[in-house]
Assembly symmetry: C2
Homo-oligomer: 552 residues x 2
């Protein structure tokens, strides 16, 4: 008998999502969960949720859902969705939140590609699933939530009301689940080509949630704890809502599920439920601040983590003026998703507010267990000087193993043993990173790189600018040159001109040495609105098609 | 191509201690580490430590230490010890901190049983290792720390000075290590029979540290963060110093390594280094409070987690009077070690100080990923009523797989798929547990159980009691009956009598219904001191031998 090379597992050793569920039920059975339905606000405790989760698992089992079967969800941020987040993986099946912002043809594609067997569908998406269902051969059952009545069949597929379905069930014997078994899958909302599928094991999801919880509890100016209340704004149909539903369960937060996102409702909930923490894309933050009634609400207790796309400095300052503590988070579907958070390390806590704002607006520092490098094309680290651009490449226990059924893309993404994010960043001496562009959005002008994001940030500081996007237009001499698309704020429609913007940039950035003169956009185009992707990011692909033609 | 049943691992997926090391080096390179040597106080940064850790690994490698080889340490809480905590497991070898409080014959036994190849030895233990080395056949090399000179051979084994050894080395290529490979091992300081060996994988150590860090950062009245300073009092030769050296690295704490524990030095360090957090057995807390100079020190910023044995209420109150925030932690060598912490859940934070003290003195709530049950002999959970006694049984990713080379004890401890702690507790409705006794210390009187710990707690509240132990004495009629051994406080030697103690218990506990009358000790014996075990706990085995004979 000797020391084993590998210590075997004993009961209780597996990192499955049931661990998070059991912990929350043990420690925080009275954790309050507030949810909005078509009937208004409801609330229950985690203990109530737990018994419904058991019923749901039992009901799904009776529909024939077994190990590794995929269960799709087409739902807003509802408590039904949260129940599925636990029940489906814990029973050994695979949760597949479908991005309902995709086009119907794309949804038919991803549901067929994932071979979804059952779909849990919000009433808002009954017309959608009706159109899609006939093209998803694997689909056997549709479960409808937040609806009064449900037809017997939708798009030719049997349909049941969620509440009717679980009514007859009580208790469920949870199976043993291997921690390396897939727990959930999702599809990238890439702006080019078909969506690509990724999946994550229980272990990946659990470690992601533990690490995320540890980071937000131990780092930064406003550390999270079970005295906080979270409003779930990040769509649960997109990158697992950043893992926040699981992180909330670990930390025992009071949680608010707002159903379909409506800015006025969100403002109401923030005030009435005492929300202290939320997260979302910049667009949502912008909507909260620009809503006509926004000024009537006290937002000063709120922390808002911004991710999904770059946070313009102007928007951040507007939020801070309202007392909202804003900082940046970064990740992607492939990475389950959090990679970095701009939670300020303790050594900076005594700095000026101005400095701390700058630090909070960086892309951030890697969260625990994330191994990150800003690399040149040969996979060597670039200098940590805040200037040299490189690609962010990562390793972490929660980075996807592969693109599902797509070995070519997998090999490309994992070349050299690092996962390539496609994000271009500079690396600061203190280990933080600042994304300056997407690989495909960076403007390659005369052999040098121009960061579209940095230009957008500078332009956004003009008081008359509501939204801005900078794209690469083709150029005969330079290859590419920057073009800016600008949405004026109400009242600025007449005053905001190309000359005004270029003059603003010249005076405030070029003459101060913050931006090289040759970065100045060749063209500034005033527009009424900017096209968005399915997840609310500005759709640069559409802009490039429209405005990216040869300049001269 | 289908969804795999088990997601394979990609680079960066393994939970090895190098993850904690790399994270600390990336996020907190300037983390300050203060250490005491024979030459006085020194200080360096984590970055400095990291380069010495590389040198140590390289040096050990040159001595022939390879995968799974055991490296023993016989050392106090020094920075050398901390360097070994990282270097040894990270190079794929196994760290074996030897409990230097064991008898020399026991140390020879555990070092032979573990087959230690190299030993890192503090100068204080040169005489010890000299006596022991000839009996440890596997031992090839001794490395001495905190010493001026080192003889060529100690006890027949080649010897080198630590600093001489690492001097010539620079850089080290860390090998890939499987997370399930053993990282460290230790021996229980059980009061009966030979010490039993346990070992823990990298994964177990990492998850323990992550969970511990998450708990102390997110729960309780005084949440830890990188603005805190920790004084390492829990011996690093015992249960991995409760994982606190790793937890400190994760959280980026300023750390103080005090070398051999000396109450006066500890008090000096607490004040001069601004210590805010420490942990240890009640005896150390008692020593800090009862030191003649204690009153001159400001201890009001200190949090002291007490574990290892029950914290008497009187001692806790004395500590609180000095402004020390005291709470309880619980674990054992077999469980790497933390199982519970009495970090008060948020719902209690508004309670009275009196109530919060009571909560802080419970054995506590399980930390994340610990599955805990208070069970009857048939492994059914006892009611959560705060009254029914049962044994604490647990499952967690960091509970030892087995007793090394001891299948019988392993089977006994793991019967029914739960690890049996041997601790008798009551379970509260809110999920916390309160240990009332060790399985072997509980007094079985007339078929009912009397908790020796509860009696000790009551007696300790008498203003004249310095220390107390209650043991079972044999009794012809009742089987066993309680006997109390009491050490009076200075000045109370004459006033403290058996009648005084019994009267105190009767008035304050029996008449108030807090303790049944039949629990009153049959005998109260005044003594000058109580025997301690190797880790500073009161040695009840010795007391039972001396005072446990038949009473009537």
């Amino acid at each position: 008998m000797v020391l084993p090379e590998k210590v075997p597992f004993r009961p209780g050793y597996e990192l499955t999502l049931k661990r998070i569920f059991d912990r929350a039920l043990y420690m925080f059975p009275d954790m309050e969960i507030v949810y909005r339905t078509r009937e208004g606000l409801g609330r229950y405790t985690f203990k109530d949720l737990a018994s419904r989760v058991e019923k749901l698992a039992s009901a799904l089992s009776s529909l024939g859902v077994g190990k590794l079967d995929r269960v799709a969800t087409l739902d807003w941020n509802t408590h039904w969705h949260y129940e599925a987040y636990f029940a489906v993986p814990m029973m050994g099946a695979v949760l597949h939140p479908v991005n309902i912002r995709l086009a119907p043809a794309e949804i038919a594609y991803v549901m067929s590609h994932a071979e979804d067997k059952v779909a849990i569908v919000h009433r808002d998406f009954i017309p959608l699933i009706e159109a899609v269902a006939p093209r998803v051969k694997s689909l056997e059952h549709i479960i409808v939530v937040d609806s009064d009545g449900v037809p017997d069949r939708i798009g030719g597929v049997r349909a049941t009301h969620y509440e009717d379905l679980i009514k007859g069930h009580a208790g469920y014997e949870w199976p043993e689940v291997d921690e390396n078994q897939p727990a959930a899958m999702g599809y990238t909302s890439g702006t080019t080509g078909l969506p690509k599928g990724v999946y994550h094991s229980h272990r990946a999801m659990v470690l992601h949630a533990l690490s995320g919880a540890l980071n937000v509890a131990s780092m930064g100016e406003r550390r999270l704890s079970s005295t906080d209340t979270i409003l779930h704004i990040v769509p649960m149909f997109h990158v697992y809502s950043w893992g926040l539903p699981y992180i909330s369960a670990i930390l025992g937060l009071k949680q608010v599920y707002p159903n379909r996102l409506d800015p006025k409702v969100l403002l109401d909930l923030i005030e009435s439920e005492g929300v202290t923490f939320t997260a979302g894309v910049p667009t949502i933050l912008y909507m909260l601040l620009s809503h006509p009634d926004s000024g009537k609400y006290d937002l000063s207790k709120l922390t808002f983590v911004v991710g999904g796309s770059a946070l313009p400095r102007g928007l951040a300052e507007a939020a801070r003026k309202r007392g909202i503590y804003v900082y940046v988070g970064y990740g992607m579907t492939e990475t389950a998703p959090i990679l970095t958070l701009a939670t300020i390390p303790a050594r900076y806590l005594n700095r000026s507010e101005e400095e701390k704002l700058e630090l909070s607006l960086r892309t951030g520092w890697p969260i625990p267990l994330v191994d990150l490098m800003v690399a040149d094309p040969d996979l060597n680290p670039v200098p940590r000087n805040g200037k040299t651009m490189g690609e962010i490449v990562v390793r972490a226990p929660w980075v996807t193993y592969e693109y599902y059924k797509n070995p070519e893309k997998t090999e490309e993404a994992w070349r050299g043993g690092w996962f390539h994010t496609g994000d271009i960043a500079v690396w600061m001496e203190d280990g933080s990173v600042v994304i300056v562009d997407r690989d495909k959005d960076v403007i390659k002008s005369g052999g040098e790189w121009i960061s579209s994001v940095r230009l957008e940030d500078a332009i956004s500081r003009h008081p008359g600018v509501a939204q801005v996007a900078v794209i690469a237009a083709k150029h005969e001499k330079w290859g590419e040159r920057p073009v800016a698309l600008v949405v004026p704020k109400p009242g600025w429609e007449d005053k905001l001109t190309e000359e005004e913007i270029i003059g603003f940039l010249t005076r405030n950035f070029v003459e101060k040495g913050e931006i090289p003169k040759w970065w100045l956009p060749d063209k500034v185009i005033l527009v009424e609105d900017l096209p968005k992707t399915s997840v609310g990011k500005i759709n640069k692909r559409v802009l490039r098609e429209k405005y990216g033609g040869v300049l001269q």
